[in-house]
């Protein structure tokens, strides 16, 4: 079984990254936006693991990094969701377009 080339994996991760970004730019729902961010982070994870495995297999830097990213993403999501909930209390909405009171 021939190995999947690195470029394929990178293609997937890059696509994932930009899909995440697109989602962040276009989704109105804050929770969905958070999910889009998760997509971006995961694409980075794929990158790290792939680079580690294909290019620098002697160390485990990339893999470690991935673990930390996953942890931190969880923490971030927790805080973000807490904030969103609090926002919902005052705005009665989690549409990002409704929270544009401060501008200019």
């Amino acid at each position: 079984m021939s190995e999947i080339p690195l470029t394929h994996i990178l293609f997937v991760s890059t696509a994932l990254f930009f899909i995440g970004m697109y989602g962040l730019f276009t989704r109105r729902n804050m929770i969905t936006m958070l999910m889009a961010v998760e997509l971006m982070l995961n694409s980075v994870n794929i990158n790290f693991v792939a680079f580690n495995k294909y290019l620098f297999p002697e160390n485990l830097d990339g893999v470690f990094f991935t673990i930390f990213i996953i942890t931190i993403a969880a923490a971030e999501a927790a805080v973000a969701i807490a904030i969103i909930i609090n926002l919902y209390r005052s705005h009665h909405s989690i549409d990002v377009e409704d929270a544009t009171e401060m501008k200019w």
Binding site: F17, G20, M21, L24, M30, M33, L34, V37, M40, L41, S43, V44, N47, F48, F51, L55, F56, N59, D61, G62, F64, F65, F68, I69, I72, A75, E76, V79, A80, A82, I83, I84, N86, L87, R89, S90, H91, V96, A99, T100, E101, M102, K103, W104
Partner: protein
């Protein structure tokens, strides 16, 4: 060895200890009053600040993921000072707040994150520190739980910073992919300037630029500053920015030294943009916090000029400016915090006739504004002069000229506020503000700092001697 561990990580361990002391009080049974918690916290932070000056040592740990030296000690001490002043100033606001301890917990964890980030000698360590510094801040921004603006600010901060850390991580991953290492010590030799690497570098750069509000990555700044509680805003604008500037300068100077040509151009372009846009927006602001937010953006432009000088003077000036900025901006925010805490007024028009009712605070604010504008004999003058001078060493006089012109624009909006304070009449000015010993202490420290850190050249010379060259 263990001894080394405690000494080298003293700066990180002390906040951790305080963190746990406060946490135990929180989970414990004793119901302490707000006043005593605040007193305790301030005493602890003061000890934290003082302790930073003793028993320091250069060295690295954890397989060179963590390192410290005299300059880093100094930088951390500056941040300690900043957080101490912020805490003093927060008293007026926290006195009646329900979640005093949580405030300090979040503040301390953010501080710890910054320390790890500053000491980090590895992209992983750096990233962890960065997130530890950022995530609590988002929570802090929402600390006025019932205020709409506070929630909105927090949401904008967390969304933006999540996006930015996504991009930063993508950059790190590409950097890792092209070099195979995360260590700061190994990276420079492996940088070859390939397009992918440049892209990775730009992403990394943007991550920093986001944190120190460089145009066009600055857009969150004003909204968050406006919405967040004033002490949090001042923490964001001074301590958090200071930390990122320290790291930014040292990373550019050491890790990305091979790409110096590239980032010099970027710094040139971005510093111009930052100064111009920051000032232009500041010109038209009605909310004082928002105005200060844009002014701090413009200040970042000046710092970029200093850093672009790529010399020992460049580092020194940036660090020195952050020190000056701690005193200056905290003095300004200190007054704003007092007014905001007691009257809830935050508009520039509310400050009309301020001097009639609060002469002392008006003068403090005015001096802080003069220092921000860079007018002697305040330290702000020296700070800006040295920054631009460091940048001028590159003999790029377009940059210098634009910077000089921007100082005029910035003077306009600072003086406009001074005008409101002293010269405009107001039928219902802000009533007489009473302020306690904490605020007084903070004011004294800030004023003394604004005057002395400039005129007394030892401060700058000390920083200069610690700074690394290019």
């Amino acid at each position: 060895m263990l001894n080394d561990f405690f000494i080298l990580m003293k700066f990180e361990l002390l906040p951790a200890v305080i963190f746990f002391v406060l946490l135990f009080i929180k989970v414990g049974t004793a119901e302490l009053s707000n006043a005593s918690i605040i007193r305790l916290a301030n005493i602890l932070l003061f000890i934290n600040l003082v302790a930073g000056f003793f028993y320091n040592k250069d060295g690295g740990m954890f397989g060179d993921m963590f390192h410290t030296n005299a300059l880093i000690v100094l930088q951390k001490s500056i941040l300690n000072l900043g957080i101490f002043i912020v805490s003093l100033q927060a008293e007026a606001w926290l006195r009646t707040h329900k979640h005093v301890i949580e405030f300090y917990l979040l503040l301390l964890s953010s501080l710890m994150g910054m320390f790890f980030m500053i000491s980090g000698a590895n992209l992983l360590m750096f990233y962890l520190g960065l997130e530890l510094a950022t995530i609590p801040l988002a929570a802090l921004a929402n600390f006025d739980l019932e205020k709409r603006k506070s929630s909105e600010a927090a949401m904008k901060l967390i969304m933006s910073s999540a996006f930015s850390s996504g991009l930063l991580l993508f950059g790190i991953s590409l950097m890792y992919g092209t070099t195979g290492t995360l260590g700061f010590a190994q990276l420079p030799a492996l940088l070859n300037g390939s397009n992918l690497q440049v892209f990775a570098f730009v992403l990394l750069f943007a991550g920093f630029a986001f944190k120190i509000s460089v145009v066009p990555f600055h857009l969150w700044t004003a909204d968050v500053y406006e919405g967040a509680p004033v002490p949090v805003t001042s923490f964001l604008s001074v301590v958090s920015k200071g930390a990122f500037i320290f790291v930014f300068a040292s990373v550019l100077y050491t890790v990305f030294k091979p790409l110096a040509d590239t980032w010099y151009h970027m710094l040139f372009l971005l510093s111009v943009l930052t100064m111009v846009i920051g000032n232009l927006f500041a010109l038209r602001q009605q909310n004082i916090k928002r105005m200060l937010a844009f002014s701090s953006i413009a200040q970042m432009g000046f710092i970029l000029i200093g850093i672009s000088g790529s010399s020992q003077a460049g580092t020194a000036s940036a660090v020195y400016f952050v020190l000056v900025y701690v005193f200056t901006n905290l003095a300004a925010f200190g007054v704003v915090a007092l007014v905001s805490a007691q009257t809830g007024k935050e508009d520039i028009t509310d400050y009309k006739g301020f001097h009639a009712t609060n002469p002392v605070l008006a003068w403090v604010l005015a001096i802080a504004l003069f220092s921000l504008a860079g007018v002697p004999p305040t330290a702000g003058f020296f700070g800006k002069f040295f920054l631009i001078m460091a940048g001028a060493a590159k003999q790029n006089y377009w940059l210098i000229t634009i910077a000089a012109l921007n100082m005029i624009v910035s003077l306009y909006y600072y003086l406009n506020l001074v005008k409101a304070l002293f010269m405009d009449a107001n039928a219902s000015p802000v009533p007489k503000i009473t302020f306690g010993v904490y605020a007084k202490l903070a004011i004294v420290i800030c004023i003394a700092g604004m005057v002395l850190s400039g005129l007394a050249s030892v401060v700058y010379e000390y920083i200069y001697n610690l700074s690394t060259g290019f």
